[in-house]
């Protein structure tokens, strides 16, 4: 009795969720032409919620602007738990009958969801995570990465360090796969020596010990990858330690959402990113303005990636019917949309080939943000593409 009710109510709420999403998308679904249903699984609660919220907002903004009534969006919260993400994917595929999945922020969640989703003949477009397993041997024709392969920004940081002539970097990252990939990526393009290489505890908040080791080393620069709160803590404590070695890192710890929490500690730090709000192209200008108008805050890297992902889908919808998988796949691969990061194209493994910029943290009025100072890598493609049989 009560259980069958559960079934019904379950469905009702799904309906509700969809309706909400639709309202956001400001679309009135009417005419018969091929509709596309997109499932957005992202992190909306708990520690990492900021990233998921940005991706979602960027995505929905693009959908709204397109005015395309053929796209229907369902958003669900994965609580940053892989098993929850897997079950949401099942739900999206089994009951929502979505054509495309997207939204996942974290590599470990992506690794849990993507293989089975693509195996079930769904498209997955990654707006953030790009673990190497899915870029190399594990690549799949239905998996498109609209952000970057995980190593890319770190490689750019390494290249930058080399080009500005750092000879002895101290590098650190959390002791988990993404952290190891980060140091791997940096070392791939960095040609100096290492003054030290540290793996910290995942979720660690006190870095006094590590900073002391940096001070004691004869390093001439510091590279770190510490996403989320870890990066904030490290930067504050580093700034307070009085060490004045130059810091390089990927964009994650210097992103719009985080910078305000870091404050002066981040000023002048050079970080690598494939996007910044001052990239000079009309799409980007429009995006930055409309995003601020819509949500009352500056867009972040993640928002830009969500925005591009949605636009990629919409561009493909114009070319092919999603039910015709091969045609739609081809349409996606063309990447015929105005990316806010300027030029954008897919490599053989459906990962981006794009420029990666070096940004510097500055203060505009009382807002901390980034400005591009140089181009770190041009038309950069990940090293795993070679292992991908596509």
């Amino acid at each position: 009795m009560q259980k069958t009710k559960m079934a019904k109510m379950g469905l009702k709420t799904l309906g509700a969720a969809t309706a909400v999403a639709l309202a956001m998308a400001g679309a009135a679904v009417a005419d018969g032409h091929a509709k596309v249903k997109v499932g957005v699984i992202t992190t909306l609660t708990g520690g990492g919620a900021g990233l998921g919220v940005d991706i979602r907002d960027g995505f929905l903004l693009a959908v709204k602007q397109s005015g395309n009534d053929g796209i229907e969006v369902v958003v669900e919260d994965d609580q940053r738990k892989p098993d929850v993400a897997v079950q949401l994917a099942d739900k999206m595929i089994q009951s929502e009958k979505v054509d495309i999945l997207t939204g996942i922020v974290w590599s470990n969640l992506a690794l849990a969801v993507v293989p089975s989703a693509t195996a079930q003949g769904k498209f997955y477009l990654s707006p953030n995570a790009g673990p190497f397993q899915l870029a190399g041997k594990g690549c799949h024709e239905n998996y498109f990465n609209v952000a970057w392969q995980n190593d890319n920004l770190h490689e750019a940081a390494g290249a930058h360090a080399t080009s500005v002539g750092y000879k002895n970097s101290f590098i650190l990252a959390p002791n988990y796969p993404a952290g190891k990939d980060a140091l791997k990526g940096y070392k791939r393009m960095y040609s100096g020596d290492l003054a030290g290489e540290l793996y910290t505890k995942l979720g660690q908040t006190d870095y006094a010990a590590e900073i002391a080791q940096i001070r004691a080393s004869d390093a001439d620069s510091v590279f770190f990858f510490l996403p989320g709160g870890m990066g904030i803590s490290f930067l504050k404590q580093y700034a307070d330690s009085g060490i004045d070695l130059p810091v390089v890192g990927p964009a994650f710890s210097f992103d719009q959402g985080i910078l305000q929490a870091v404050g002066d500690a981040a000023l002048g730090v050079q970080n690598t990113s494939q996007w910044n709000k001052d990239i000079d192209n009309p799409a980007n200008k429009a995006f930055v303005e409309t995003f601020q108008a819509e949500y009352g805050r500056l867009p972040s890297l993640y928002a830009s990636q969500g925005f591009d992902t949605a636009n990629l889908i919409i561009s493909a919808m114009g070319k092919a019917d999603v039910k015709d998988q091969d045609a739609f796949r081809a349409a996606l691969k063309e990447a015929d949309f105005a990316s806010v990061r300027g030029k954008f194209k897919f490599g053989n493994n459906n990962h981006p080939i794009q420029d990666i910029y070096v940004r510097e943290v500055i203060k505009e009025g009382d807002v901390y943000t980034n400005k591009i100072i140089s181009t770190g890598l041009t038309d950069h493609q990940d090293v795993y593409a070679a292992e991908c049989k596509l």
């Binding site: 009795m1 009560q2 259980k3 069958t4 559960m6 079934a7 109510m9 379950g10 469905l11 709420t13 799904l14 509700a16 969720a17 909306l44 609660t45 669900e76 919260d77 738990k81 892989p82 098993d83 897997v86 079950q87 099942d90 739900k91 089994q94 009951s95 590599s107 470990n108 690794l111 849990a112 293989p115 089975s116 195996a119 673990p131 397993q133 002791n175 988990y176 796969p177 993404a178 190891k180 793996y199 505890k201 995942l202």
Partner: protein
């Protein structure tokens, strides 16, 4: 409580009927939810033996849940890329046969429970709660940073493991397996509770001094209960991993331990079917509230709070008692 028996039948029947109805309505996801409920219920049944009957408040049962999960993940991943688990001293191949995986999961988690229990049971009260929690955390951090099986990324298994004569990829058939396992374990646990062992365990829970002075070695008694409890939760872990075709360290996180406890409280402590009702309702809530608001966990928290404070005895406790009152 004869009434409770009827209630149990009802709960069991509902858990069986819902997915069958969903099958008719072609709502495979409801089946997946019911499967999840059955599996988490199994984990709860395991903990309930230690916690409900034995009064051993373990805040670290995620450890056994995770070990079960990794038993599946490791065996299956080796089977999936034909790399033997070990060559020397003797060859061990991976496998994708559920019965074998279950056996390994049970044995592995039982051994872990034996070790952890032997140490933890020297303490009591809050210390017991906290030391079990600590062991859970140890496993968590170990798996996060242990590269061999994916670390925090976890392990994906591309096809669900096999069970002779069943198509495990078909949701309803996999549910069938989980449901049967759950019912079998419930049957055994029921016998266990009624047995001299169960009586002694419960007696020691109510009055340790008494149990000692009638000649019962309470420590050994509890240790055995703890091991059985861990083994059951480990089996649930293996099934859970197969449901998601994925394992990761989050199975070890202290939130998991907390959730397994929540099922028991929701359903009714020391009630045979308590964890079943609890897990089902919890999943129902998670599923419904998730659609209502981005801040749904507030509501979840409030509901839990209400149950703990005002609905002592949980669902089964509440319903069963009310029926009795109608009698007299």
């Amino acid at each position: 409580m004869i009434r409770e028996r009827y209630l149990n039948l009802l709960i069991g029947a509902l858990l069986l009927i819902v997915p069958l109805v969903a099958l008719q309505l072609d709502e495979p996801f409801i089946i997946t939810l019911a499967t999840k409920a059955a599996i988490l219920a199994l984990a709860g049944v395991g903990l309930n033996l230690a916690l409900g009957q034995g009064g051993l408040v373990s805040f670290g049962h995620a450890a056994y849940f995770g070990i079960g999960g990794y038993a599946m993940g490791i065996l299956a991943s080796h089977a999936q890329d034909y790399a033997p688990l070990m060559e020397a001293p003797f060859l061990i191949e991976g496998t994708n046969l559920m019965p074998v995986i279950w056996l390994v999961a049970i044995v592995a988690s039982a051994l872990a429970a034996l070790l952890i229990g032997a140490l933890s049971l020297r303490t009591s009260g809050v210390y017991f709660i906290m030391v079990t929690l600590a062991f859970g955390q140890m496993f968590y951090y170990f798996t996060v940073s242990w590269p061999a099986y994916g670390g925090e990324d976890g392990l994906s298994i591309y096809v669900r493991n096999q069970f002779p004569g069943v198509n495990t990829l078909d949701p309803i058939q996999f549910f069938g397996i989980c449901f049967v396992v759950l019912m079998a374990v419930l049957f055994l646990v029921n016998r266990l509770n009624k047995s001299p062992f169960g009586l002694a365990l419960n007696g020691a829970h109510q009055n340790e001094e008494r149990a000692l002075t009638v000649g019962i070695n309470v420590y050994r008694l509890r240790l055995v209960a703890f091991v059985i409890s861990g083994a059951i939760t480990g089996l649930a872990g293996a099934l859970f991993a197969d449901l998601n075709r994925f394992v990761s360290p989050t199975m070890f996180s202290w939130h998991t331990s907390g959730e397994i406890m929540v099922f028991i409280i929701l359903g009714g402590v020391a009630r045979l079917f308590g964890p079943v009702a609890g897990a089902a309702v919890y999943i129902l809530l998670e599923h419904m509230l998730g659609g209502i608001s981005e801040y749904w966990q507030i509501y979840l928290g409030l509901i839990l709070l209400f149950v703990v404070l005002f609905a002592k005895g949980g669902i089964v406790g509440g319903l069963a008692r009310r029926e009795v009152r109608h009698d007299g």
